[in-house]
């Protein structure tokens, strides 16, 4: 019962959304791109998308500059 977030093993919680996971792991950056397994999760779906057990998650934060 675990997931992997940016290569780190994190406890899996039943029925947890992307928003809740980001809060739990203390990810405070305002603009992030989230990939669960091979799918990109649009930001508008963060509060509904449920994290499956064994998921491999990538969280990338975007900062200004170009």
């Amino acid at each position: 019962m675990a997931i992997e977030v940016n290569g780190r093993t994190v406890e899996w919680k039943d029925n947890e959304t992307v928003t809740q996971l980001l809060q739990r792991i203390g990810y405070v950056f305002p603009l992030v791109i989230v990939k669960i397994n091979d799918s990109i999760i649009p930001r508008k779906d963060f509060s509904q998308a449920i994290i499956p057990d064994q998921a491999a998650i990538k969280v990338i934060h975007m900062v200004s500059g170009g």
């Binding site: 305002p30 603009l31 992030v32 791109i33 990939k35 091979d38 990109i40 649009p42 930001r43 990538k58 990338i60 934060h61 975007m62 900062v63 200004s64 500059g65 170009g66």
Partner: protein
């Protein structure tokens, strides 16, 4: 590498098309690298005008101040390669249709500035053009820590990433570092065009 292989690389690059979203610090430097490398076709999208404040890191010149960046850059690129094919769109990318102008390119290179725009663009491209290779970057501001830059590779999405960099509102944008990220992106675009193992 034998001559035949070098010829095949040249031919592949001549036939390739890279679409660049935003031609500020990242996009303008990347475009120059791609043109010099021999990429034959570029699609450039930017609505901005060259300002004096751009000259500290963007590939523009003092005598181009006031020109559309698109026009100024094409002028420079054609001085490198007169037969370079440039398709230009002097427009602002609009939410909901940000990917449209890039549908037919081989690789998309993100060169936008604001985090919000970058995130929206990446999201739209990944969702609406799932098979399309995309190279983007995050963490362009700052200097002196080039070793922190890494490439995150997720399927068709490549991100040139400095996880510890501050945003450009909190740190400086410096020519050397911006050009490093821009060329990093261009280099990844070439790798995608040529295939991961080509020539290695």
């Amino acid at each position: 590498m034998d001559t035949q292989e070098k010829k095949s690389i040249k031919k592949k690059l001549e036939g390739a098309c890279v679409g660049i979203a935003g031609i500020g610090g990242l996009g303008s430097n990347a475009a120059v690298a791609l043109a010099r490398a021999g990429v034959g076709h570029l699609v450039l999208v930017d609505f901005d005008v060259v300002e004096e404040g751009n000259l500290d890191r963007q590939y523009y010149f003092f005598d181009q101040i006031g020109k559309l960046k698109i026009d100024a850059l094409v002028e420079t690129l054609r001085r490198i390669n007169p037969s370079l094919d440039c398709i230009v769109h002097p427009v602002k990318l609009k939410r909901g249709s940000m990917e449209i102008l890039f549908r037919d390119v081989d690789v998309i290179l993100e060169g936008l500035d604001r985090a919000e725009t970058k995130t929206a663009f990446i999201e739209e491209v990944l969702l609406k053009l799932p098979g399309k290779p995309l190279v983007a970057s995050s963490g362009v501001a700052g200097y002196g820590e080039p070793d922190r830059i890494v490439t995150l590779h997720m399927g068709n999405f490549y991100l040139c990433y400095d996880e510890k960099a501050k945003s450009s509102e909190e740190d400086v944008l410096i020519a050397s570092h911006v050009a490093l990220m821009a060329n990093w992106e261009a280099d990844l675009a070439l790798r995608i065009i040529l295939g991961e193992h080509h020539g290695h």
